[in-house]
Symmetry: C2
Subunit: 341 residues, 2 copies
DNA sequence: TATGATAATACAAACGTTTGCATTTTTTTA
DNA sequence: TAAAAAAATGCAAACGTTTGTATTATCATA
């Protein structure tokens, strides 16, 4: 005894009216008489009617779903952005379909293509470090599917709005803070070189050093290669253990690098901030808990998510294809001073 | 010049064959001649055909989407479970639609109902602490939609498989470990009393204490009320500051409670583990980084996600409604010993 | 070379909505 | 009270697939 779903037809039959009227009644279309509308609502309720979203979508060409592609789940930054997206999206009656590209360009492409099957109204994407060419994104946009990018954008794509923070500027400020508080020998711990955000953060570091006439020493620079938490630990460990002369400050490009650095330093017996100062990037909650608490560049991740969603939904509502000019939104960061500096 | 999507009809027209044949050809149905199949594939490729998933879903009654409802995003445990779900789901050609109930029963219900509109093939849910009654879930199941629950399950729902860990047993072991290493005055820091997992973890604590004839002192027990990171900090702070006589160990019910506790202890000048030992619950990465590193009950979150997804997909493939007997899967935890004990 | 068997293809209904237009009913007006 | 105007409803096509059954084309057989 498989129970069949109630559909408009069932309500129509029971009330001896047409499907069209039922549909309009439920829509509160003024073209149907209040009294019939009432009847329809009551019967729908009584019969346990639930509209079929798929049929609706087919008919209307809208699914009210936003596809989100992030490089990985286990990075609080991305989750926080998703939370922001979700927040804005729900308010505007959209749901989010999340998938991870697992730091792989191929996966990113596949995910994108799968979304092209019409299951989402638009796409929010943060490119992986592997993403060098943006033709897959251009192709999607060419098909009229709205796209918004955030973070780590290497290439300008016309038609793709994007949201980012000024990584170089943020780093510059942080490093300058270190210099202003008397640090001279400042090390850099960054991430994989292929990733634009890390390039920019590195640039900020270099610029600040040069602007203050401090020599940049290769031996004080680490670009972590790993994409995995454990290996990051090892890399940082080795880096710090093999330094010829010790730095008096370390600027790191993520919260996690910062924490791992602090951990290693403490284990090696250094005092923070007396011997070494440390700065992290992101400020997603952990820096505050660590002892000593960590000075961080605070990135407005939640807001970034909201903004990204806002731009996308704007695109939905724009007159189609009025050769959409790309919008770029830059969000402000803030240096949050804590005990580590 | 809005570009229209290529559909089966376009291919059919171009090749002068019927839509049905095109559909079957793309399906590699043996009923179509190899030579036409080839032609169809070539033309489809050339015209840039992309199947319309919505139309497919309407026709087939399957969306290949799994709906996931978690109480909150900013809890690494839930994200890790989602990652597990996603992992298993993708392998089986399902995508996941995530939403947060924001710790509210009302939101949970709304989300559930919105999924009832046929946009998902099945639902994975972790109930909020507010969820006392399970009629909304029963109702969904009654409509033939597969549901699997995980974590924090207060009530047995026939037809709803679920996956959990034995919270009481895990806590028992942890507290026993403290006792065995000579701790006597053991404090408890738990979460909101309404949440089943916290009830169970508290029970484990009580049982272990009683089994070892240690008196349970109310003054050493804290049930945090807040659902927000910041307030947790304050609560724990106050609790620890106002203790008449200090404990020599603190068992905490989440990683975050553990870390906040350690932070506060260190700030108050206590040495860990010499003066006080601390244990956390979850082991989602942070406990290892903190100095001193934190002993934790490791919860297999990723595996939990995989298992949950597996159970759901199993339900999809089962002969419908053979009055499905509920399956309960219990996953093992492990006590990971580190510097804090 | 007609005849049946088999292979290949086409037709049309179905999935559950929405919506432009036609039709019917009700109300207003002269 | 008949005609015109307005309101309410109904019909049927459309959204892009899948799939059971009917039809046509091809082939082997006698």
């Amino acid at each position: 005894m498989k129970k069949r779903r109630v559909k408009l037809e069932d309500i129509a039959r029971k009330l001896n009216i047409s499907i069209a009227t039922v549909s309009r009644a439920l829509d509160k279309n003024p073209r149907v008489k209040p009294s019939t509308r009432e009847k329809v609502f009551k019967t729908a309720e009584a019969m346990g009617y639930m509209p079929n979203q798929i049929a609706k979508s087919l008919s209307s060409g809208k699914t009210n779903i936003i596809g989100v592609i992030i490089p990985r789940y286990d990075e609080p930054f991305f989750i926080e952005v998703c939370r922001g997206i979700d927040h804005y999206a729900r308010e505007h009656n959209y749901k989010i379909l999340i998938s991870s590209s697992r730091n792989s360009f191929e996966f990113e492409r596949e995910n994108l293509i799968s979304y092209e099957r019409g299951i989402v109204d638009g796409i929010i994407l943060s490119p992986t470090h592997e993403t060098e060419t943006f033709t897959h994104i251009r192709s999607i946009i060419g098909k009229g599917i709205p796209v918004v990018l955030f973070d780590n954008i290497k290439e300008e794509v016309s038609g793709a709005d994007h949201v980012l923070i000024e990584d170089d500027k943020a780093s510059y400020e942080a490093v300058e803070h270190l210099i202003k508080t008397g640090r001279k020998r400042i090390a850099f711990v960054g991430g994989i070189k292929e990733k634009k955000v890390f390039q920019d953060r590195f640039k900020g570091y270099l610029d600040a050093m040069q602007a203050n006439q401090i020599e940049v020493l290769d031996e004080l620079i680490l670009h972590c290669k790993s994409l995995d938490r454990e290996f990051e630990d090892t890399e940082i460990n080795e880096f710090l253990s093999n330094l010829p002369e010790f730095p008096d400050a370390i600027f790191t490009c993520t919260d996690n690098y910062g924490l791992l650095t602090m951990k290693t330093l403490l284990k090696m017996g250094y005092r923070i901030p007396d011997d070494v100062a440390v700065i992290g990037f992101g400020d997603l909650g952990l820096g505050e808990v660590f002892v000593p608490s960590m000075t961080c560049i605070a990135q407005p991740s939640f807001e970034m998510g909201q903004k990204v969603a806002e731009l996308l939904i704007q695109q939905f509502n724009e007159p189609v294809d009025k050769n959409h000019r790309k919008k770029v939104v830059k969000l402000k960061t803030e240096l949050v001073l804590r005990d580590s500096t």
